[in-house]
Assembly symmetry: C2
Homo-oligomer: 431 residues x 2
């Protein structure tokens, strides 16, 4: 019995069924989870649209496309909704084809064998929690005026002015997207830096890029209250001036959806962020109950969820599986351009290369400086990690992860030759 | 003495000077050679502008940016010229800073020690030919009506209709760029396929993409004559109907600039395309005369030219050098999206994955299918080569080349995990 029909649950259910298991999947709302319905997929589509629009606006600024006209957010939203609906339907058919029973309902976990669904008690030998996560809401006066990453996709107009609370990847991505679509944007963060999961030096460059794009960044500042007057939301802080904006996005983190499964979960071992601790068989501290995806204390990323879902099916019904090596997992934040990272980047001997991509400053008024760092062991040259900022960083990083997996050394980057003109040539083929 | 101030000559001269040699560089026109003045750099900038415009037009087609206005080619040309001028100037200063004497003149090679420049005879212990290459012109009636890749950057308007003769990388790139800017485009080729240097199966997909973008492709057909009537150029062929267009681009290949160096070159050993054969010390069959860049029988690519230029300086004045491994050189053709390749792709066990990138069909009316193939040894899993078609293929391929250099195996691609949603995830992190 799989509770949750997102990336993790669907991949686990489909594979378990293909291995001969009798599988029931319970989903309280839409198939596809956060990724498809209010995460990766609509975000990437908005990011792509924002990229095209930003690039076109830059051509306008330098006189190459002098007369652009408006951007129709509603038309974009319709195209995105249609795509999401198509993905949901394809998931529904593949689950059906695989012979998985899908129930649309809330689920309450009763013990390691039983779940209550619509008042009925269902039992299964193995229970898999794949319930995902949800945005955390700040608990301050006026919190009803906050939007979350769920709400962003429902906005009916491009914000005239947007305050983003939280400079993590979600906050920085929506700040970038709405700035590209024309909003005045300010990001505030309680900490002293943005994008905590990424290399500190690289994030410094990323912050410069955000600033160059016209996004205001305020660090070490916490909102204390929100209030609404005459169509604007005023946000007060523990220090510094208030901000008066049309929209406020709260992006202070996400928390696993565990508690709503019922009191049984209270005794299960949790990580600091509330995710369920799991063994290398993805079993929680409650024997017979497994967790995958954002509900588990792994990495809250779709590819990890999908691969862990498959691995769990192989562990329970197939020939076993080794879990994904989290040190070889690529991650990215879709700024303009994106920042992407794999492995360890903070220590060791680093190659630093700051460069200016070719179209920048030619097809745009400003010059945007990008960045790359390859970390390798100073004694052996063995590659340990990399961080890139560049238009195709999110794709390139996967191949760098593959180089790490292959035990590549910095000399291997020198032996290879890149295409000219690309950003990769600033690193590959250099001595 | 270095004859030719393009990528190869400049890198050789600068490095040789830094190693203590007394260096003179002779350039008959502008510093930067084909790459900077009428190749990689202006082409990539036009390609980037075309990409933005194509993407914006697609948003227009689906109603997201409903009212785009015109594209100003003249404004683009001015921005590109300014950039080229800046690069030329930076080359001039770095040569000056390095202590290289630069002469602006034609050069005639007299023997392995002497060169005639502006009527004076100069001599040097080592002579380096870095004279680059030029477009080949078809010798058919009406050939004066042909433009080449040199002329394209001088065009004062976007062609209403464009016939491209030659389906190699230059022909396919300009066909794609001008199609993106609004031209009606037809590519003809005498052979039975496009892009001969690229993997045949991948090129089949690339041709489907060109066709989906509205480019007409006619294979196994040779132009026999051109004539002009009422503002149009009519091109007749050995079979099939004539084409009447406003512009004709001849892109049937490039030939090394050797003969204009004088009769001394007649006795030097040549490859089939006319390039000078060189040893692994980059020496021609005439002892003491060296060749680098497109003048040499290596790969006619800027990064190879640059690296060979440096290597030659190291061989002559430093501690020697091993030449770039040509099996690890990435190459790409900038279509929308680009195709990129490294290593051997035709044989062995191939991973085939045809996929649809996320924005395609959502932010555009049509769905464009892209393609990827990883070739690995069927027994050992050792990676042998790859070909990709995708928006960031030209950057990604360099890291795949690095994986090849590292002796990576197909299992290493499985161990790594990619970012979602990207194209790289269709290969990296799959079983």
């Amino acid at each position: 019995m799989v509770i949750g029909g997102g990336s993790a649950g669907i991949s686990c259910a489909t594979r378990a069924s293909s291995l001969g298991a009798k599988v029931c999947l319970i989903e309280r709302k839409n198939l596809g989870g956060t990724c498809v319905n209010r995460g990766c997929v609509p975000k990437k589509l908005m990011w792509e649209a924002g990229r095209v629009w930003k690039d076109a606006r830059e051509l306008e600024t330098v006189g190459i496309a002098p007369n652009l006209g408006p951007f129709d957010l509603q038309a974009l939203k319709t195209r995105i909704s249609d795509k999401i609906e198509a993905i949901r339907e394809s998931y529904a058919s593949s689950l059906e084809d695989a012979g998985v029973t899908v129930l649309r309902a809330d689920a309450e976990l009763l013990d390691d064998k039983q779940v209550r669904v619509k008042g009925r008690i269902l039992s299964a030998k193995n229970i898999v929690l794949a319930t995902g996560g949800s945005p955390i809401l700040l608990d301050i006066p006026g919190k009803d005026l906050l939007s979350t990453s769920r709400d962003v996709f429902e906005w009916t107009e491009i914000p005239k002015s947007l305050l983003v609370i939280g400079g993590g990847y979600i906050g920085c991505e929506f700040a970038s997207i709405f700035r590209a679509l024309g909003s005045d944007v300010c990001i505030v963060d309680a900490g002293d830096r943005l994008l905590e999961q990424f290399d500190e030096v690289a994030v410094g460059h990323a912050q410069d890029i955000l600033t160059a794009r016209g996004i205001k960044v305020r660090l070490s500042v916490e909102p204390t209250s929100l209030s609404k007057t005459a169509g604007k939301i005023t946000v007060e802080f523990d220090s510094g001036p208030a901000e008066a904006v049309t929209h406020v996005l709260c992006a202070v983190g996400r928390s696993p959806n565990i508690d709503e499964l019922g009191p049984v979960t209270e005794s299960m071992e949790r990580a600091e962020n509330g995710a369920l601790k799991v063994t290398d068989r993805l079993e929680t501290s409650a024997s017979g109950i497994y967790a995958i995806g954002d509900a588990a204390d792994r990495l809250p990323l779709t590819p990890v969820a999908t691969r862990d879902g498959e691995a769990l099916a192989d562990i329970l019904f197939g020939e076993g599986a080794r879990l994904v090596d989290l040190d070889l997992v690529s991650s990215a934040t879709f700024l303009y351009p994106p920042i992407a990272q794999v492995g360890e980047t903070e220590s060791g001997t680093a190659f630093d290369g700051i460069t200016t991509p070719l179209p920048s400053g030619v097809l745009s008024a400003e010059t945007i400086e990008v960045y790359g760092k390859i970390n390798s062991d100073s004694a052996t040259g063995q590659l340990k990690g990399a961080v890139l900022i560049g238009h195709s960083a999110a794709d390139e990083i996967a191949w760098i992860a593959s180089c790490l997996a292959a035990g590549g050394r910095s000399e291997d980057l020198t032996k290879a030759t890149a295409v000219h003109p690309t950003l990769a040539e600033e690193v590959v083929g250099r001595r």
